[in-house]
Amino acid sequence: MAATESFEHHSYDVIVIGAGGAGLRAAVAAHDAGARTALVCRSLLGKAHTVMAEGGIAAALGNLWPEDNWEVHFRDTMRGGKLLNHWRMAELHAKEAPARVYELEQWGALFDRTPSGKISQRDFGGHRYARLAHVGDRTGLEMIRALQQRAVSAGIDVFMELTITDLLKDGDRIAGAFGYWRESGRFVVFEAPAVVLATGGIGKSWKVTSNSWECTGDGHALALRAGATLLNMEFVQFHPTGMVWPLSVRGLLVTESVRGDGGVLRNSEGQRFMFDYIPDFFKAETADNVEEADRWYDDKSNRRPPELLPRDEVARAINSEIKAGRGTPHGGVFLDIASRRTPEFIKRRLPSMYHQFKELADVDITKEAMEIGPTCHYVMGGVEVDPDSQASVVPGLFAAGEVAGGMHGANRLGGNSLSDLIVFGKRAGEFAAEYAKTAQAALPKVAEVTLSRSAEEALAPFRAGEAAENPYSVHQDLQETMQDLVGIIRVEDELKEALEKVAALQARATRIAVEGNRQYNPGWHLALDLRNMLLVSQAVTAAALERQESRGGHTRDDYPNADPYWGTQNVVVALKAPRVGTAGTELSVRRQPLPKLPPELAKLLEDVH
């Protein structure tokens, strides 16, 4: 059917793939810079994963603590990332986040207020001061609506429910993108000199995850196949608090705001166990007794409670408590805010959490503790980009948000992802527009032969052969593999086993056969998504095998400590023979020294309070 099919063609200056926070902000920026811009997304507008973000947007507005400023935010971000962050991204992020937050207000966002009428800010793990602009615990929804409404009123062309399967190239340069309408299954060709990837995360390859179906690592895989490099893919964040019961909602996020607003973690013996897990790196700034910890909420001259250590520390501690047999009946630990705050306070500050537990688990969080456990949440690794422009090594290809690497180092602080989206979304959009302008002199061309090959490969699941595979079974087996072998705690033998298993799944995936026709066919869609999930899982595993130390979101049982040598190295993964379409899957893995931190920024890190 592909050979005779004529493809729908569109021509733009900039194509933005993904319509979460980063994609929307990039599209608005590219549009404002005068570029003819298209925003392409796999779901309906406003449904992207950003909508699930709860706690807030980190920005040193200084509305509650005038002592706060970009330098402290920079320091907190770098320390939270175990100093592996690209310093320039962390610097830009800390400096520009406040202006980006006010921009949302300018476009109609309504944040919660301080008594003096400013944007209110809340406490979160790893941030020295209350820094997160928020709306109850539905900040992501507020952000996506403000951006969505801005994009719509600007008249930007939005292609909803359209999946991009391949990036198109002309020689070394980007020439556009190829995809299909989910509704009809018909193919679409976008010709454009600049493409911004804003496709989000990879969490759907794990079994216990807070991520939606869209987090299949499409952008990571598209970038690899187009010849771009991925940075530090071994760093996967397991959020400490996901729901564990009922099974139906296992992994569903419980916001860090519960702890920021006073919630504490207890094991089955009722003990506040986090005091036993304060690492040396954070000793100077963390309270070692209950009294001081509890005073901190009102008086910041005290040291912060250990429940508000960065997420990697808390997730590992919970994991250890459960393994030691001090877990709850359903295999988690207790998160208790009921005994610490009034029902009115809880309902006002955490309305979605109240609703979520009441509706889905029959638990009233104003009366009883929640049962929670770690859940796959975020990938710190991503497309290697220039910190200022977000340009990848492939001319014309940009990346922003979760799909880009470098900003968060080995571990991301809560609240820093929403700010990341708008700071670097804007930059990616602007620089993509600028690149597109310079490309006008000699526009890249799309080769017809590539298009028919992309179409052929996308339709492969309809040509059932021998030993046909069900896409849902392959997906389930991938999730089991990554959960069991590339989870919070990793070890060489298991990582090697995972690589073999992923390779076997890749072989099975080539035999996937789907029922029905091309019209809104989820089985077919999953078959195509799986190509990306498998390639990205392979990249994560290969990088995890390479880094022989424990740091942030990468813990090796066989190398339990952080290693000063590895503190100077990034792990870079690329395809050995990148090719648009279904590529070979042989990866190259190499180490690359971190960019040198300028002395004036290095000084900021020394202050440990």
Partner: protein, 250 residues
């Protein structure tokens, strides 16, 4: 503890279709979307259904469950009659694309009509000074997850296709209310709302409020106040006089 669950799911496309029966394995604590996914993974790979977050936050998985418009991800099996089959059909007010997926582009069209937030001359550039009690009214409406259940339920459209071109529906009435109640918005959208977007068609039966998964008081807090404000601007000479003066000053 697992048990067998009987599902009756509407399968078909724009040309027609009918209910198909499936028996799936279900577990305690599951929601309707789990059962639909189970059917999809094991018996009907191509069963079309929209969903994203499975946490009641994105508003994608709207359908009619035993005739009632609901989110599939927030409807626990335990709230449905035991032993009876669960019937799942697509939203009725919008054209079917395939199975449980409908063409909701109507709503994205209406969204384009809304005149954007416009800051006042007093505070043209953020940061704005605004107080919590003043933003709270609009914040209620900004909880909306755009699941379109209220649009689907509203009988002005559900029973009268011909009203769609000049009726924006409850979701957008709360959007207009949100902007009207924004403490720093300067744009008056009231006559547009009344004359072009069909506020007057609503006869406050509150069906929209009943199905709202975010428990937004659509009728009481948005539609009725907006109707009153429209009447005030349109017919109250005094209000008109003062509002003119305000505009002139600005």
């Amino acid at each position: 503890m697992s048990f067998d669950l009987e599902l009756r799911i509407w399968r078909g496309d724009a040309d027609g279709g009918d209910l198909k029966d499936y028996v799936v394995e279900a577990e305690e604590g599951q929601v309707v979307l789990d059962a639909v996914h189970r059917a999809q993974a094991t018996q009907a790979n191509d069963l079309a259904v929209r969903w994203n977050c499975k946490a009641g936050k994105c508003g994608s998985c709207s359908a009619e469950i035993n005739g009632r418009p609901r989110l599939m991800c927030m409807t626990r099996l335990s709230v449905l009659p035991v032993g009876a089959p669960v019937t799942i059909t697509p939203l009725r007010t919008f054209p079917v694309i395939r199975d449980l997926v409908t063409d909701v582009s109507f709503n994205y069209e209406k969204a384009r009509h809304v005149p954007a937030f416009t800051p006042t001359a007093d505070q043209p550039v953020a940061p704005f000074t605004m107080f919590q009690p003043d933003v709270e009214r609009s914040q209620e409406f900004r909880k909306c997850i755009e699941c379109w259940l209220c649009q689907n339920t509203c009988h002005v459209m559900r029973d009268h296709e011909e009203n769609k071109p000049h009726f924006a529906g409850p979701r957008f009435f709360i959007r207009y209310a949100e902007l009207d109640m924004h403490p720093n918005d300067a744009c008056d959208r009231k006559s547009f709302l009344q004359e072009s977007e069909g506020l007057g068609y609503c006869n406050i039966t509150k069906c929209c409020t009943e199905v709202c998964p975010e428990q937004i008081h659509i009728t009481d807090n948005a539609i009725i106040p907006m109707k009153e404000r429209v009447v005030d601007t349109k017919y109250d000479p005094l209000v008109r006089f003062f509002s003119r003066r305000r505009t002139a000053r600005a």
